[in-house]
Amino acid sequence: MATPQAPRLDGVFAALADPTRRKIVERLLAAGELSVGDVAAPFAISTQAISRHLQVLERAGLIERRVERQWRYVRMRGDALEPVESWLSRQRRYWTAALDRLETTAAEQTPKRRKS
């Protein structure tokens, strides 16, 4: 039986629901690690706005930060998307089994059809 999800899942979904944040995540996945300036570069929005997006991603457990002298870097956490993937596979298992039971119940209640 599927179990209730960790509360983290809501944060992950909410964080990924924003197109700018998804672009940031894709860039980080492709590049590995980027400085905050490099993250901001392709976007026509303020550094402040990028900072807010990074905060949301960090709170959701998707990215982590590293400071080296005056430079600030961000990268994806290794387990970032794990909650999403395990949640989906639990749902799939539940519904596949439920439809098996539905099919059995339906078959039991339906008189055999005559081929016409």
Binding site: A97, L99, L102, A106
Partner: protein
Amino acid sequence: MSQDVVNQESETTLRLERLIPMDPEPLFALWIEPVQLVKWWAPEGCEASVDALDARPAGRWRVTMRKPDGNQVATSGIFRIVDPPHRLSFTWAWEDAGGIRGHETEVTVIFEAAPGGTRLVLIQQRFDNRGARDGHRGGWSASFDRMAALAGR
């Protein structure tokens, strides 16, 4: 829900399809009548009981599943579309032991008369109604696919 969402399976949408040997009308009843629903809703060994099943738009539903060890877990939500015997749509979430609902999704079940019974399509969209669905529309699926592929490296 737009037709393309119905047709597409992606990393963000669960889509299952079955041919069930029963006509759409009685099959629809298996979903919305408590005495019928408890026959198949809960996993093997668990006992389902219906706490609410108000099958009309905005109506609430809640089903508790009791495990052999006495522990129980509930699922609940609100009906969005009740269009017998064609389409059923409801929000869906597991509840934790304290009755706190987890991440909410939307489940849509489509009943299509077919030779030999009903073609049933079940679609579960992962996003709740807190603005997340807008994000789902544009390119979300494609970008998640890429993300998942990259993350899996």
